[in-house]
């Protein structure tokens, strides 16, 4: 057994996290910053954090992930990291020439108490930041929140820096995207244009973390939300913010700063959440829903009705990030499945009420847990107590899946052992079909592999 020391008997833990269902803020900040064109993320701390975050993102995407670091040593830890950041910025602009440097802090620089805006101000007054270039700070201590919080904080930093109000509204919406894959961000843009609307999607990692092989490396790939687009967000009609945990702060900031009102929606994962997204586009874009979109929806509903018998009543365990889990759980319940265990390491009191709303009383036995010690060890113990038919989560789930012989669908961050997540969307109606394809694939493969020969079916 891979996780041979895990048993069904729970022991009350107050201090020890085992097999976490979260990681730390800066990796989220780094991912978010990569979704801005010409932007180089910079990790203000010791170089180890940056190395780990780049490695994690690289393994997930199998793409270059560039970021610089302040490379703290003992001295910087004692005297503060100002000198490191000043030299760092000068070197970055001279050697790597980005348009924007997005600086995020680490546990170390936060514990020291480095004041990023002050240091950046100093760098500017000392001429270390060339004219027309931008440096943006985000505070991302990992002893608060999780990687999701880091994404939210970086997104907020972009929004408080770039958008401007000219006084003249322009015919566009803002879409603040929660943490999804490049393919999903591409799909959001496609849906918006199918609806006949203009929108700025921020951030946008498509064409950044799914770039083509051309034989020529580009340090700053073609994709990413551009500076003029971000600036124009202050004049948009309305903001649709997708994902409570990742985008509410940024949306609020934009509203306060530029008086652009916002609506919170879930990420459009599955049928109901996509419906709500389309309704929001329809309402705030003042358009009617074209047949094309209705047809896509119809195809998703069609697939669910066709395959309902294989989904109905199946017990599912999920772990991952709140903004994914809420709509995903609702989708599974919409399909007649039973999401019985849901775990997220990301803290936040609103998670349980959101989950309860998503489940809407359909799975009374559901166990939901988030925050400290809401980890995969806990989830595994629940599974040992009463098994499930399906497990959904990041790659680390494969250890539980193999030990317990549970069909497993990879979803979330990080996915280190399969491809596809960055190329095929799982948002929107089409994304819903892809999710079902994956779920049905593993469920039915297990039937095919384990049913008695006499019960082996050709047509399913």
């Amino acid at each position: 057994m891979l996780l041979r020391h895990t048993t069904a008997t729970e022991y009350k833990r107050e201090a020890l996290t085992i097999n976490p269902a979260k990681t730390c803020q800066p990796v989220g900040a780094m991912y978010c910053a990569l979704g801005v064109h010409g932007c180089l993320p910079h990790s203000h701390g010791s170089q180890g954090c940056c190395s780990y975050h780049r490695s994690a993102l690289t393994r997930h995407y199998k793409e270059p992930v560039m970021a610089a670091t302040s490379s703290f040593t003992e001295g910087s830890s004692v005297f503060g990291g100002q000198a490191n950041l000043l030299t760092g910025l000068e070197n970055i602009f001279t050697i790597y020439d980005p348009e924007i440097v997005a600086v995020h802090s680490t546990c170390l620089s936060e514990t020291i108490g480095d004041d990023l805006p002050q240091i950046i101000g100093k760098a500017r007054s000392e001429g270390k930041i060339p004219l027309g270039k931008h440096v943006i700070p985000a505070s991302t201590p990992s002893y608060v929140g999780s990687h999701v919080t880091g994404y939210a904080n970086m997104l907020k930093a972009f929004v408080s820096y770039f958008p401007e109000t000219t006084g003249t509204k322009i015919d566009q919406l803002n879409i603040l995207s929660g943490w999804v894959e490049p393919a999903d961000m591409r799909e959001l843009k496609r849906i918006v244009s199918m609806m006949g609307l203009n929108a700025v999607v921020l951030p946008d990692t498509s064409d950044v973390l799914d770039t083509p092989m051309t034989g020529k490396y580009k340090m700053y790939p073609d994709g990413g939300t551009t500076i003029p687009d971000m600036v124009s967000m202050g004049d948009s009609w309305h903001t649709i913010a997708l994902g409570e945990f990742c985008t509410r702060d940024a949306a609020t900031e934009l509203e306060n700063k530029c008086k652009v009102k916002f609506s919170m929606r879930e990420l459009p994962i599955g049928l109901s959440a996509t419906d709500r997204f389309i309704k929001a586009l329809r309402r705030y874009g003042k358009v009617s829903v074209p047949k094309e979109v209705e047809d896509e929806r119809g195809r998703l509903v069609d697939v669910i009705t066709d395959m309902h018998q294989y989904l109905y009543g199946k017990r599912v365990a999920l772990f991952g990030d709140p903004d994914h889990l809420v709509p995903l759980t609702q989708f599974l319940a919409d399909c007649g499945m039973k999401p019985v265990y849901v775990v997220s390491g990301t803290p936040g009191k609103i998670f349980t009420p959101l989950m309860e709303k998503a489940l809407n009383g359909r799975v009374p036995e559901a166990k939901i847990m988030n925050g400290e010690r809401a980890d995969m060890f806990q989830l595994h113990q629940w599974i040992k107590q009463e098994g499930v038919d399906l497990l959904i989560g990041n790659t680390y789930g494969k250890y539980i899946a193999r030990d317990e012989n549970i069909p497993f669908v990879r979803y979330g961050f990080p996915i280190l052992d399969r491809i596809g997540h960055s190329y095929f969307p799982s948002v929107g109606y089409l994304g819903g079909i892809r999710l079902l394809e994956k779920i049905l694939g593993v469920l039915m493969d297990k039937i095919d592999a384990t049913c008695p020969e006499s019960k082996f079916e050709l047509v399913m």
């Binding site: 170089q47 180890g48 490379s71 050697i95 092989m213 390491g345």
Partner: protein
């Protein structure tokens, strides 16, 4: 610069390339990097600046002290609960990402390597201190798992808020009655992973080695293998050879190992050091305290594997052992040769670059030599001058503030466990030319004018690729796709790209086949769309 082809003993002078690299840097940086970019001359080895701080803002390959301590040295042992004291990330990223394989003897034997333990510090712990939480976490780990040992690793914020992890470990050790020890391996402690190796070596030496003294002899020839981490199953291959030869492997530091085995590792007759950088400290200390001699081995490459096994047999000088060893080598070499003969013509003359780790950038050149692949440029991520120029330069290495940070233990001879007979044996063998405590380093084996670059960064990587156009690049995950987007295959030498084993004869064969796959692969020729080189279709949109 034109593609350099078919050069036999000497490469073209890369001074122009060096200039080109340095030109981009601010003056101060250029001055610093200049000393780490060196044009090799095997007959008069130039000095390389190594093991110095990475410049802020530079996109480096390097990781931190914690990564070297927890990730590299302690990570591959299976019977210990490793609790990372700090915020969640540090522990999360070191969770199973290094591919250390392990084989517990039975389905019930302990194996915690698939688990990730953290105190997940919150802001209140940062403000009010995390020691109490750490004690509680140790207790919970004990109650849940009853492991053989527990260890604790400090991450950056811990050092700053002043938690005394060693006091916590001592108290819990007294309370719970198992061995519990801690590592002050905060990421900022050194300039790279290397500091973490040293910190790990120190604590394993003081708190683990020598705890068990009643083991008695387990075999006629008892050895420890050091600095072999069982990436991709390398250690399994070497263990197989030892078994066939009748060698008893007491402890492996640390691939496929248990902490329990370290506790009686002082019973070994000799220590073999594979990765000199990460483990030479403990080999040195064990010699001082227990009298165990050490010598350098290398199981990467068929020839060096044969050489290393022969050296081991020669050390014991036992006739039967020598015969068995020769038989093994003869049999395996025949297999190796068959594959090499087939692969070599396909890859001969190709040109490689290696920038990785603290020994692999050297060791893997052996495999390239066996295939006739030429090394244009190489360097370490966290090596020291001795790993480049050879151990004889150690007395001349300047101790700077960063190195002074890492404790040098004062080791005294053990009254009861020191084995003078091993030292006598060493003397005798030395007189016959057997080399102990010897490592020649990377540069004497590299060609004249090959470019040696320590702690290479992103800019330099891009530049040498652009100007030298290698056929193959070896580095790690962060570099992998950058290089491949240039249209050049990259072989990861930390994780082996999830392949391997590459150690021993079997490993050499695997590596040859891997080179055949990577270098003769058609897909790189298909990068450009077929219409790319055809004249574009002009003319009007009128149907004819």
């Amino acid at each position: 610069m034109d593609k350099m082809k078919n050069i036999k003993t000497e490469l073209p002078d890369p001074s122009a390339l060096k200039e080109e690299i340095l030109k981009r840097y601010p003056r101060k940086i250029a001055k610093k990097r200049e000393k780490s970019i060196v044009i090799n001359d095997p007959d008069a080895i130039p000095e390389v600046q190594a093991n110095v701080r990475t410049i802020p803002g530079i996109i480096t390959q390097r990781g931190c002290t914690y990564a070297g301590c927890k990730g590299v040295i302690l990570g591959p042992s299976r019977d210990i609960v490793n609790i990372v004291h700090g915020p969640i990330g540090c522990s999360f990223y070191a969770w199973l990402t290094r591919r250390n394989q392990t084989q517990p003897p039975t389905p019930d034997s302990p194996n915690f390597m698939t688990y990730c333990f953290s105190t997940d510090m919150q802001d209140s712990n940062i403000v009010f201190g995390g020691e109490q939480k750490l004690r509680q976490a140790i207790k919970e780990a004990y109650e849940l798992f009853h492991p053989y040992s527990i260890s604790v690793f400090s991450t950056c914020p811990v050092g700053l808020i002043g938690d005394d992890i060693h006091a916590a470990c001592r108290e819990m050790k007294a309370e719970l009655g198992i061995n519990i020890f801690g590592f002050s391996c905060e990421g900022y402690k050194g300039v790279s992973q290397s500091a973490g190796h040293h910190i790990a070596n120190n604590r394993v030496f003081t708190d683990v080695v020598g705890r068990k003294t009643d083991k008695g002899r387990l075999g006629k020839f008892q050895v420890n293998l050091m600095g072999e981490y069982n990436i991709g199953g390398d250690a399994f291959v070497i263990e197989k050879y030892f078994k066939e030869m009748g060698i008893t492997l007491l402890a492996s530091f640390s691939g496929n190992s248990t902490i329990e085995s370290y506790e009686y590792s002082q019973d070994a007759d000799v220590n073999m050091v594979m990765c000199h950088r990460s483990i030479n400290y403990i080999a040195e200390m064990m010699e001082k305290k227990y009298g165990i001699p050490w010598f350098k081995v290398n199981f990467i490459g068929a020839n060096s594997s044969a050489k290393s096994l022969r050296k081991l047999a020669e050390y014991f000088g036992d006739k039967e052992l020598i015969e068995k060893t020769e038989l093994l080598i003869e049999r395996e070499m025949a297999r190796v040769k068959a594959v090499a003969d087939r692969v070599r013509p396909k890859v001969e003359g190709k040109r490689a670059m290696l920038f990785v780790g603290g020994s692999r950038a050297h060791h893997y050149q052996e495999l390239f030599n066996e295939l006739g692949i030429e090394t244009l440029s190489a360097g370490y991520e966290f090596g020291h001058r001795d790993d480049y120029e050879g151990r004889h330069v150690i007395p001349t290495i300047k101790v700077d503030a960063d190195s002074r940070n890492i404790e040098e233990l004062t080791v005294v001879k053990s009254e009861t466990l020191f084995k003078p007979e091993l030292q006598d044996k060493k003397l005798l063998l030395e007189q016959k030319g057997f080399k102990f405590e010897h490592y020649e380093g990377m540069m004497p084996t590299m060609k004249k004018n090959s470019l040696v670059i320590d702690d290479i960064n992103h800019w330099e990587t891009e530049k040498i690729i652009e100007m030298m156009k290698p056929d193959l690049f070896c580095a790690g995950i962060k570099e992998k796709y950058v290089v491949q987007k240039h249209g050049i295959p990259l072989k990861q030498l930390h994780s082996y790209d999830y392949g391997g084993p590459y150690a021993g004869f079997e490993g050499a064969i695997n590596f040859y086949l891997e080179m055949e796959r990577m270098l003769a692969c058609d897909i790189w020729k298909m990068v450009d769309a077929p219409w790319k080189h055809e004249p574009s279709i002009m003319g009007s949109m009128v149907y004819e």
